[in-house]
């Protein structure tokens, strides 16, 4: 273990459920407005995961009112309250950037059935 990992270890969020690329997730984002805190949910497909340690992040894509919206979240951010996995997707590559070009029915992901 490198010494950087030693510093990072305390800060990593180990309370998160594990999820993979292709999963549909609900990300509960903490939003601070002045003194108030509220939670906003961003629901979409995870199309990419990258990085390691404290720098790791993941990209969630959803189609909102016909417009594609992508949001990149730092995996270990304090502003994420919870990540819920809604659906496990069956995928054949690590980055699903091809979904950007697809619309409607073509942009669906197969579900993993156990």
């Amino acid at each position: 273990m490198s010494l950087v990992d030693l510093v990072e270890e305390k800060q990593l969020r180990k309370d998160m459920d594990s999820f993979n690329v292709g999963d549909t997730v609900k990300v509960q984002v903490i939003i601070r407005e002045g003194d108030k805190e509220r939670i906003q949910v961003f629901r979409g497909d995870v199309i990419a995961k990258r990085g390691s340690g404290m720098g790791a992040s993941f990209t969630v894509r959803k189609v909102s009112f016909g417009i594609g919206v992508e949001r990149v979240f730092p995996l270990h951010s304090k502003m994420i309250k919870k990540i819920e996995v809604v659906r496990r997707g069956k995928i054949r590559r690590a980055k699903l950037y091809y979904l950007r070009k697809l619309k409607g029915k073509a942009a669906r992901l197969k579900e993993i059935r156990s």
Partner: protein
């Protein structure tokens, strides 16, 4: 107290602040260092501590004259030696060990290292020139352009920014904030970046180091010296107290391990005063937050969970049947 330490850059990491912003961090393995030689005004003409970086990797036996140098201090030989200033009144001997605990959280430090070599670089990379047009028939891309006038002065002005070797210079980044100083693993974490590559040698120095630090002027009270010191202390105290009231932070920095008893009492007195106002304030706040959270959770998260759980249960038996 010693001004600073020798260390090695380990690498970079990041953390998040309360607002969720990313804060870049650099991890430095600082020390442990041993004092090899104490240079004095009388003997060497200047007053400084020569300290060596103790590393896990073994050191080759140095040549005999150098062996004697380490033998005098009574420490095993080390490869890297550097000189640091020290508080004149501090009781530091040759052979003493210095650890990261000389730094504390929130303190400002200067970090000196050797920047990464960039090789022969031209003016855009080296001096930030804008460069010319890239296209539309332009033949003037990244060239430096004119480097001066013609007949007068008939030469290139001294100091003209031109291509040449870039990087691999001694560079100091000033006023970096210490985020963490861990004596157990000898790690020092500072906010921001530090010159040099990983495993590069860096010198970490206190930003507001004072050789004539007032704390060091009060040695541990001994019976013989007491009367004299008390007089001195009485003279100094009113001034020092004012200084402490205005700037409590630098005062606390200097008062690390080697304190006189009067200093400790002052610290004790100060702490309860600070804690009282803090203790009162947070009490009402958690209650508010707790109520807010309770209100929020049922609104947004709870119904979803309730709805979902029956769905999942319904699906599960279907899948099994298939």
């Amino acid at each position: 107290m010693v001004e600073g330490l020798i260390g090695r850059k380990i690498g970079m990491s990041q953390t998040f602040d309360q607002q969720g912003n990313v804060i870049p961090l650099t991890v430095i393995k600082a020390g442990p260092c041993t004092v090899i030689q104490k240079k004095t005004e009388e003997k060497d003409g200047y007053s400084v501590l020569q300290i060596g970086l103790v590393e896990e990797k073994g050191v080759k036996q140095p040549i005999k004259p150098v062996q004697g140098h380490f033998k005098k201090a009574g420490v095993p030989p080390v490869k890297i030696l550097r000189e640091f200033r020290f508080a004149q009144e501090a009781k530091i001997k040759e052979g003493d060990q210095i650890l990261v605990d000389i730094f504390h959280e929130g303190e400002k430090v200067h970090v000196t290292g050797t920047s990464k070599g960039k090789g022969f670089a031209s003016v855009i990379k080296r001096w930030g020139f804008r460069g010319g047009k890239a296209s539309h028939g332009s033949m003037f891309h990244r060239a430096p352009g004119s480097i001066g006038a013609s007949a007068f002065p008939s030469r290139v002005v001294k100091g003209k920014k031109l291509p040449g070797h870039m990087g691999d210079n001694k560079t100091t980044i000033r006023n970096l904030t210490v985020v963490q100083a861990d004596t157990e693993s000898n790690l020092l974490v500072v906010k921001g970046s530090v010159p040099g590559a990983r495993n590069g040698l860096v010198l970490v120095r206190k930003a507001d180091f004072d050789i004539h630090a007032p704390v060091e002027k009060k040695p541990v009270p001994e019976e013989e010296k007491k009367p004299l010191e008390e007089e001195k202390l009485e003279e100094k105290r009113p001034e020092e107290k004012k200084f402490e009231d205005k700037k409590p932070i630098p005062e606390e920095k200097e008062s690390a391990p080697e304190e006189g008893k009067p200093e400790e009492k002052k610290l004790e007195e100060r702490k309860p005063e600070e804690e009282k106002p803090e203790g009162k304030k947070p009490a009402p706040e958690p209650e508010k937050q707790a109520t807010e959270e309770k209100e929020m959770i049922p609104e947004e998260t709870m119904p979803e969970k309730e709805n979902r759980s029956p769905e999942i249960k319904e699906k599960a038996p279907e899948e099994k049947k298939e």
